[in-house]
Subunit: 167 residues, 2 copies
């Protein structure tokens, strides 16, 4: 396991932020851990963001990932939702950046393509494939499955980059 790279995938949301850690060693991908951070909704807004930030910080401390990856957010017609998601996403990105991890970003389409094979897959298909690819990730909720999918997308992308640079 000494050469394994651990990747933290993040699916940010103000109410629920999914996280998942996978290990990559050559072509082998394995599940390390996953979970969801759900700050109490009665907290003042700044403290909800702080809870996300500290929750992800605790995950990083517990699982010592080497790199992080986060889903790119698509801008919706609802400006107020977009704004809230931007806040949550920043909380999710600052925590790994502060721990010195590079933070990669992937469009949802790229994540789905990496896991299911098509960019148009729905959440159920993603969760199904996560259960197939990472058998020990049983019981991952949709948010955690999405986070594991982001980590897998990053594992593929970094491998492609690595092979590319070696060519």
């Amino acid at each position: 396991m000494s050469n394994a790279i651990r990747i933290l995938g993040l699916d940010p949301g103000l109410r629920r932020t999914g996280w998942g850690v996978v290990a990559v060693e050559g072509a082998r991908l394995s599940h390390v851990a996953h979970g969801v951070i759900a700050p109490r909704e009665t907290l003042p807004f700044a403290e909800r963001l702080l809870a996300l930030f500290e929750g992800i910080g605790a995950v990083i401390e517990a699982h010592a990932p080497h790199e992080a990856a986060v889903e790119e957010t698509f801008v919706t017609a609802n400006g107020s939702s977009t704004l809230k998601l931007g806040h949550a996403r920043a909380a999710a990105m600052i925590a790994p950046a502060r721990a010195g991890l590079p933070v990669a970003e992937y469009a949802a389409k790229v994540v789905k393509k990496a896991v299911v094979g098509t960019g148009g897959a729905d959440k159920t298909q993603v969760a199904f494939m996560i259960a197939r690819l990472l058998p020990t990730a049983g019981g991952a909720t949709a948010d955690a499955a999405d986070a594991l999918a982001v980590a897998i997308a990053h594992a593929h992308a970094r491998k492609a980059r690595h092979l590319g640079s070696a060519a």
Copy 2:
């Protein structure tokens, strides 16, 4: 100065985040410090957010404010700008929350009304009144002047709350 309350005002932006600290003692308002945090635009996105977060953390360490206030963001038709502003605003809010400061939020209209007397004032009028209200805040750029204005709005609001609860 032992009874003075120091307030940190924040005007968040990804390219430039203005900050200003004022001290309030009874009806007396005085300027403590102000500045702008402008992360290098060539940094990866997560590191720009980290630079904002750490910059504000350094301001808090240097000036030991007791409370923080941040301008509420209005949602624009440009979803992509809204999203970026949400990220910057979260970086600005998590730093004081992490330092244990309560973080109040004020609509731009309320801030302008507190400083200029009308919610429809423009940036020039805000900067002009900041120079009048805080003579030692000379040379504050528009971003820093806006941040000082947010701090003043909070000083007014907390005083009004205080008088209200004493009645």
